[in-house]
């Protein structure tokens, strides 16, 4: 299997054409699941039992089913029901629903690990519950959640490749198109892998910098 360096070089711009979609999807999923995760964790930790149970049930549902199946569910399901979602949109929906769940668990773990005792210390000093959260718990929890969150962001970027199976024109999709046209599978996959590695390494570096900035 000879490696055609020239072909590899020519493949890069083609693949980069899909980078915008990959990035756009990644950023949207990250942003929306961070928010959705907050909603879920509030429900998960609420005083109302039905709400707690509903959120816990939701979490079990999303973590025990593959995200690909969720994507197919929305893509084909809505199409049949008359609402034609694009591969991108169906993927976005499924990934936000799933990763929002994972984010909420990360938040919950962070909060619980900071611990009830810290909260008590705050209350004993005369803070109101929300103040105690904002001043005592939140800053400490943020430091704790950064590592698992980094892993989750990396996982999100990798999962975006799945939308290529629904014809969304991301890097993976472009790669397959290119291979079908040129049969240069070796070179294209080498490039594609390298590009994903660069993306994931960049995220890891950015998050490491964020950790340092927060003075861990």
């Amino acid at each position: 299997m000879r490696f055609d360096l020239d072909m590899a070089a020519r493949a890069i711009p083609e693949l980069l054409g899909g980078l915008a979609v990959t990035l756009e999807l990644s950023v949207l999923v990250i942003a929306l699941s961070l928010i959705w995760g907050v909603v879920l964790v509030v429900g998960r930790l609420s005083h109302l039992l039905p709400l707690r149970l509903a959120c816990a049930g939701y979490l079990q549902l999303v973590r025990n089913t593959p995200v690909l199946v969720q994507m197919y569910f929305f893509y084909f399901g809505f199409a049949m029901a008359g609402l034609r979602l694009s591969g991108f949109e169906a993927g976005l929906l499924a990934m936000v629903l799933q990763n929002g769940g994972y984010m909420s668990e990360i938040y919950r773990a962070g909060i619980e690990n900071v611990g009830a005792r810290q909260r008590e210390a705050g209350l004993a000093l005369g803070m109101r519950p929300f103040e105690a959260f904002r001043i005592v718990i939140f800053p400490q929890a943020v430091r704790l959640v950064l590592p698992p969150m980094t892993n989750q962001f990396v996982a999100i970027v990798k999962d975006t490749a799945l939308v290529s199976t629904l014809s969304a024109a991301d890097m993976m999709f472009r790669a397959r198109l290119l291979i079908d046209r040129t049969a240069a599978a070796y070179e294209v996959f080498a490039d594609l892998t390298a590009m994903y590695l660069v993306l994931t390494a960049t995220i890891a570096l950015l998050m490491r910098a964020a950790e340092r900035r927060l003075g861990r």
Partner: protein, 215 residues
């Protein structure tokens, strides 16, 4: 309403069996790879550690879907039979081997320092120390995260559907194509995955409860 689902259930369940078979084989292989990689990473010489780290970096940074397609397109050139099952076993085991390695590495590191002291103070070293004192404790510590990784692995097998392995997800797509009832069918598929994965997680919780947690 769920008539379609009920009618196609036998077909879906056959796909589920393929999923389970694939998962079981890959879980075993991934564990083996994981143990080797963890030992190489923590106790290996420069070369072993280097290989392990490169392997881990590649697996953690590359989407498994890319690997699945790569296996499909590239393996024929290397002369490997391009049956979806073979490609699937190869890719899924390699990919989750990296996660398993992290599970075992973390477990080894979680064995309290005092256990090393006690073993050494009694005159143990090397394979004795590892085999009698450290590894048994590490395996117990690894239980719950191991099960979680297995659950991830089961979900991951759904990706092998894209290269034609008729496991649960592809079975679902085939049925949908025939019956045009995507919500029902994929709902059913999700339900079957749920049953498999949730059962595994219950095993995990039972394991966690049974395990004597030291100190």
């Amino acid at each position: 309403m769920p008539n379609v689902l009920i009618a196609s259930l036998p077909y879906l369940l056959r796909g589920a069996i393929v999923t389970l078979e694939l998962s079981a084989v890959c879980a075993l292989l991934a564990s083996a790879i994981g143990i080797i990689a963890a030992l190489a990473q923590s106790y290996g010489g420069l070369v072993a550690r280097g290989i392990a780290l490169i392997y881990l970096y590649l697996m953690r940074g590359t989407p498994m879907l890319v690997m699945v397609f790569a296996a499909y397109y590239l393996l024929p050139y290397v002369g490997i039979n391009v049956e979806p099952m073979t490609g699937g076993v190869l890719v899924v085991s390699l990919y989750y081997g990296a996660f398993m390695s992290e599970v075992f590495r973390a477990a080894l590191a979680s064995v309290p320092r005092g256990q090393w002291d006690a073993g050494r103070a009694l005159g143990m070293h090397g394979r004795w120390l590892m085999g009698i004192v450290i590894v048994p404790q590490a395996l117990r510590l690894a239980g719950p995260p191991f099960i979680n990784t297995c659950i991830m692995l089961v979900k991951g097998t759904s990706l092998v559907s894209v290269i034609g392995l008729v496991e649960l997800t592809l079975s679902g797509r085939e049925v949908v194509e025939r019956t045009l009832a995507p919500f029902q069918v994929f709902g059913g598929v999700a339900l079957i995955y749920f049953v498999i994965c949730y059962s595994l997680s219950l095993c995990g919780k039972a394991l966690e409860a049974r395990l004597p947690h030291a100190h």
